[in-house]
């Protein structure tokens, strides 16, 4: 049945330790080929076809392919295409790929898992006939190459057993290593280079575009433009003796010839300037840096520099003109240069093609949408088609003699300007998983006509008779919270009922894994990317009015002053009386003639919420603000029609207060029951340095803010009011929000009790419990709480601290990107809105920069730079003001600006802000004069996460229709 021989593999490590491992060689491993007459295959174990069709013009006969490691590593995009079939992936290759690049390894596993592709993974390392032992003095790479050749020749002879000559498939080894090809040829194995093979594949046009242009970067020293990178051993030695430093490279958004690198254990980041200084590092790469001697240090230039539109060919410009370095200034920063790359962090980039000027050329430049990424040179024959499309490109290498990195075309996303293509770009650039739900996931769903089964009713507390209602923004279809309140024997009984998503999303199911990977629902202006399939998010889990739904309830007894007397949690069945909007609920409260159950319940809730809020504010919770806007979207075309700031009514904060109370109650419970693995949310206090600029600006307006604690900060914010400028206080709060740090999820085992503190809410412990339909964190918290109250069983992964922390890391990452994607979507829609119009609006100065004012338009919540020509204005650094004759601009000043859209650059369309009043000749915008030398820059718009619910109502209606 098993084991035949024992082999000992010896390795040496660190302080010379001899490791002896067993290595069993087997005779029961299958070859996976239908042409084999020898192995005892079962039907489902046959992967490779008996008569694979030959696609390649170079080989007439049927054949299987064997790939070597470098082919897989470099040409994964080609492998992912459907063209190549009947491929044998050896374990030697699989292990090496796994060791070198986990991302590619995952992609390879996916291909192997796809039954249609007919990829077979053969365990050659444990097969008794294909195992090779490393010879004394032989390099590991050479041994692996030998193992691959051995497996190839074994396959050839194995398939010939009991087969007639010419009737069985040949084996073709694809490798780019010339020496390996020669050796294989000597051993009688058919070989070919990848590019030769792919270029001769018939029937798949465009396949050769995807070939990676991989050149070993350091080898070509001829006409080198860049200095060579150091080898890994040199880098290692350099870092050890302190000459080099390891850091992450961040390219500058504004200046393509500048960037900086953050080094752990070093406060200031290191400045890197110029082609040579950056030396082919790309944003995100981990690089080795040599710090220059102090006399060569310079300071970050504050000019905006974009790469030229034309392809200048392979030479580097004179940089002295591009980088104006004035060394007289005091604020020079440590400057260094990149001497080696430790690890590339390349991903696939969206962007557009800049076709070459010469017709028929195959080499073109590609401009990524992300400004921090340099242009990429790619090779394609389809440039005519691709020029008008958004495309996805992967990077391959950056040889020394090429001005730009080399890459290859991956796929097209759609025409430029098309709404779907633009949304796709947003989702891809922010790494939002947005593929359709797979069959395995959909199989986990209950049937469409699912109703609550009897045994479930018996197990739960029946609250169907209670007057529960939900309050949400208009057009919201994923209602995950509902409330009720009534008088009780001692005080008031208040209940928060949350959709019971975990009843449908069972742990370890395909649905659960997909939801965990997505982590959050992403809300774009005209599109929602669901975390769970729509049947759950908009129907079975959504607490719709008048329908019986499963819920997880949190019920308190509160006294007259809204102090919690007792808390209990249980699973329940509810029947919501009404699903109201904020305005409807507000009307029900205000209309004194209404005395039905819903209205009284709402009034009670509102009264208690106000007391809760007051107490929270007294404890030092911060009321922060961010400009929120919502789009009115055309029902047919989904084009935005108008934009306006959001209205806030009393009921918004009523719902919010009870959600906060529920979250805090649940957090206390799970933290007590799971000291090692409870999922909580913390908000660290901002470091004092973040406040410097903000405090300066406020004091110029005559307000001294105290930021020592959140309590004193909150108090001084409340007092900073200018009666004649009602917006001023909101503006202060908007700016205070920018000084804050991000709140993050964490596992209770990874932090001490003091670190649990939530600064913004001023509560010692906090979590997310109330939105399980759209956040995976809440799903986990539901499971923890269910285990804690005995409503459901716990499972192993739930109790593991390490697993919990890994989960939190993913949640934080996805949440950040979901927010960024939502912002990018708002920016996109703003651009569409302003395509054919201009507006003159009042604006406020948020910040004063060297060559611009950062302004905010309260009506739209838009923010952007207003550029000031340097010949008219002088910048006073000390006072942080811009002066032109007798006009002084400082933070918080009010002005009027004109808004237009600049579409001259398709990739980065921008909103242009121009000054209208106060009037300055030659600067201010005057009707009917073209002011064309204004420099412009991209606009950033901040919106709150609550914007999620502002989906166009019509769209939801449509979906409902199509379902019925």
């Amino acid at each position: 049945m098993w084991t035949t021989k024992t082999f000992l593999t010896k390795t040496k490590r660190g302080n010379v330790l001899k490791i002896v491992r067993e290595h069993y060689l087997r005779d029961d491993l299958l070859c996976g080929s239908a042409a084999c007459n020898f192995c005892p295959h079962k039907d489902d174990e046959l992967v490779l076809e008996a008569n694979p069709e030959s696609l390649c013009g170079l080989f007439d006969s049927n054949h299987y392919l064997i790939l070597d490691t470098n082919v897989v590593l470099h040409q994964i995009d080609v492998i992912e295409e459907d063209a190549l079939k009947n491929v044998i992936i050896l374990q030697t290759v699989l292990e090496e790929v796994k060791h070198q690049n986990t991302a590619i390894f995952q992609r390879l596993l996916e291909v192997i898992g796809n039954k249609k592709r007919k990829f077979f993974s053969f365990v050659n390392e444990h097969h008794k006939d294909t195992y090779v032992e490393r010879n004394p003095g032989e390099k590991q790479n050479d041994r692996n190459d030998r193992a691959i050749r051995k497996a190839a020749s074994w396959y050839a002879s194995h398939l010939s057993i009991k087969n007639i000559d010419g009737q069985f498939p040949q084996i073709v080894l694809l490798t780019d290593d010339e020496k390996n090809r020669q050796l294989a040829h000597d051993e009688g194995i058919l070989t070919c280079t990848v590019s030769d093979y792919i270029k001769n594949v018939n029937g798949y046009p465009g396949l050769s575009d995807k070939l990676s242009k991989n050149v070993i970067p350091e080898s070509c020293s001829k006409d080198a433009l860049y200095p060579a990178h150091l080898t890994p051993t040199q880098i290692h030695a350099g870092i050890r003796n302190g000459k080099l430093h390891q850091g992450t490279f961040h390219a500058s958004r504004d200046n393509y010839l500048e960037g900086n690198a953050t080094i752990s254990g070093c406060e200031k980041s290191i400045l890197l300037q110029g082609h040579i200084g950056i030396n082919r590092a790309i944003d995100g790469d981990i690089v080795a840096i040599e710090i220059l001697p102090q006399e060569e240090w310079s300071k970050p230039s504050d000019i905006v520099l974009e790469d030229k539109t034309e392809d200048p060919g392979d030479f580097l410009e004179e940089e002295s003109q591009l980088l104006t370095i004035s060394k007289a200034d005091d604020d020079i920063t440590p400057t260094g240069k990149v001497v080696g790359i430790i690890r590339r962090k390349w991903r696939q980039y969206c962007g557009i093609l800049l076709p070459s000027k010469f017709p028929g050329a195959t080499r073109h430049l590609f401009t990524p949408a992300e400004k921090r990424i340099p242009r990429v040179r790619i090779e394609t024959r389809q440039s005519d088609i691709l020029a008008s499309q958004r495309i996805l490109v992967a990077l391959d290498s950056w040889p020394r003699n090429s001005r730009y990195p080399l890459g290859h075309f991956v796929r097209s996303l759609g025409p430029i300007g098309d709404k779907d293509a633009e949304n796709e770009v947003i989702l891809l650039e922010h790494d939002v998983p947005h593929a359709r739900f797979s069959e395995a996931v959909l199989a986990c769903l209950p049937p469409d006509n699912w109703t609550i089964p009897e045994e479930e009713l018996a197990r739960r507390v029946d609250l169907r008779a209670t007057c529960v209602c939900s309050v949400d923004p208009p057009g919201c279809t994923d209602i995950d919270d509902a409330l009720h309140a009534r008088r009780a024997a001692a005080g008031y009984e208040v209940g928060v009922h949350i959709a019971d998503v975990t009843h449908f999303v069972r742990p370890h199911s395909a649905l659960d894994r997909e939801a965990a990977a997505r982590a959050t629902t992403v809300y774009l202006v005209d599109k929602r990317i669901d975390m769970v399939p729509e049947l759950l998010s908009s129907n079975l889990c959504s607490l719709r009015g008048g329908e019986e739904r499963l819920a997880f309830s949190c019920i308190w007894i509160l006294d007259e002053n809204a102090h919690v007397l007792s808390t209990k949690f249980h699973k329940s069945v509810i029947k919501s009386r009404a699903a109201m909007t904020y305005e409807e609920a507000q009307m029900a409260i205000d209309e004194t003639s209404r005395n039905d159950e819903i209205a009284t319940s709402l009034r009670l809730l509102n009264k208690l919420a106000k007391k809760l809020k007051q107490r929270r504010l007294d404890n030092g919770a911060l009321l922060l603000a961010s400009p929120e806007i919502r789009f009115q979207v055309d029902s047919e075309t989904h084009e935005p029609l108008d934009v306006q700031a959001k209205r806030i009514v009393d009921t918004n904060s009523m719902v919010e207060e009870f959600m906060l109370l529920a979250n805090v109650s649940v957090a206390e419970r799970i933290a007590a029951d799971y000291p090692q693995s409870a999922l909580l949310r913390r908000h660290p206090a901002p470091p004092p340095a973040h406040f410097n600029a903000f405090l300066k600006a406020a004091s110029r307006q005559g307000f001294e803010l105290d930021v020592s604690t959140n309590k004193s900060f909150s108090k001084s914010l409340n007092e900073a009011v200018i009666p004649e400028r009602p917006f001023f206080n909101t503006l202060l709060r908007i700016m205070a929000t920018r000084c804050m740090q991000q709140a993050v999820y964490f596992s209770s085992g990874s932090k001490t009790q003091e670190e649990f503190y939530h600064y913004g809410l001023a509560c010692p412990i906090y979590t997310h419990f109330t939105s399980p339909i759209r956040r995976y964190a809440d799903v986990v918290v539901h499971r923890l709480l269910a285990g804690s109250v005995g409503a459901d069983a716990t499972h192993a992964a739930l109790l593991d601290t390490r697993a919990a922390q890994a989960l939190c890391d993913n949640l934080n990452y996805r949440h950040r990107h979901a927010q960024l994607a939502a912002r990018a979507s708002v920016a996109l829609n703003t651009h569409i809105l302003f395509k054919n119009r201009e507006e003159v609006e009042s604006a406020v100065v948020l910040a004063v920069k060297r060559n611009a004012l950062q302004v905010l338009i309260p009506k739209y919540g838009l923010e952007g730079p207003l550029y000031l020509p340097s010949d008219k204005f002088t910048y006073n650094e000390e006072e942080n003001v811009q002066i032109c004759n007798d006009i002084v601009f400082k933070t918080f000043d009010e002005l009027t600006v004109r808004l237009t859209l600049d579409s001259s650059n398709l990739q980065h369309r921008k909103l242009v802000f121009q000054l209208v009043t106060p009037f300055i000749p030659g600067v201010s915008y005057v009707q009917q004069t073209k002011d064309d030398q204004m420099e412009v820059e991209n606009v950033e718009i901040k919106t709150d996460e609550k914007k999620r619910k502002d989906l166009p109502e019509t769209k939801n209606k449509k979906k409902k229709k199509s379902k019925t």
Binding site: M1, W2, T3, T6, L17, K18, I19, V20, R21, E22, H23, Y24, L25, R26, Q91, L109, I112, S121, V123, E125, H126, H508, R513, A793, T794, H795, A796, A797, L799, R802, A803, A806
Partner: protein, 250 residues
Amino acid sequence: MPPPDLLSSQGLRLDGRRPNELRRIRCKLGVFTQPDGSAYLEQGNTKVLAAVYGPHQAAKSKSSVEGVVVNCQYSMATFSTGERKNRPRGDRKSQEMSLHLRQALTAAIKTELYPRSQIDIYIEVLQADGGAYCASVNAATLALVDAGVPLRAYACACSASMAWRGAQPEPLLDVGHVEEAAGGVVLTVASLPSTGSIALLELSHRLHSDYFEMVLSRAMQGCKDIEIVLDKAVREHLAEGWTKQDVVTI
């Protein structure tokens, strides 16, 4: 999710075994002439010597009228691990191992047959590559058989661990050092497979109760497989051993 992959996508473990396979076991009875019984056992790269003295008259202080006193001494050779050990026996770990051995072996021996007597069992681990306790129990059983001590049944020990194949939990049988060091849970069972009773059960980490049954049944299966191997070795030894001894006596 659990740390590194202990199972490849083809379902093989790091050393090429399938999840339900034992390491190679080689053993020999009667390796020494001085003790009353002795055995040498290899389980993969774990190599153990066992020697049995007795039953003989018990020391006054230990003597019991109920049955024989089983005295175990577990020691690891200083060269048995990757880094040299300081002392071969007497440290906490060895003392604990001795107690555990005694528990498992007392369960197997028909103690009531020899009141006021004592049996000494000495275990020497020559090379440790995971599962030293299991190999010690198995070797001691063989040595007891060689000494002619009446046993209720073979005492066999085996370990099992948990791994994931995709999302499916898959228990691993007979855990080696590499798999142990990967940080997974290790369940060690010493049992009398022919009676189905468990003499000792030890769990190294926390394991969720959902998976416990699965891991335990795999470990029990391992004990049964080991019993077959041991039984075969005993029969072979007897077949050749009798003839040898005849030669010696004549």
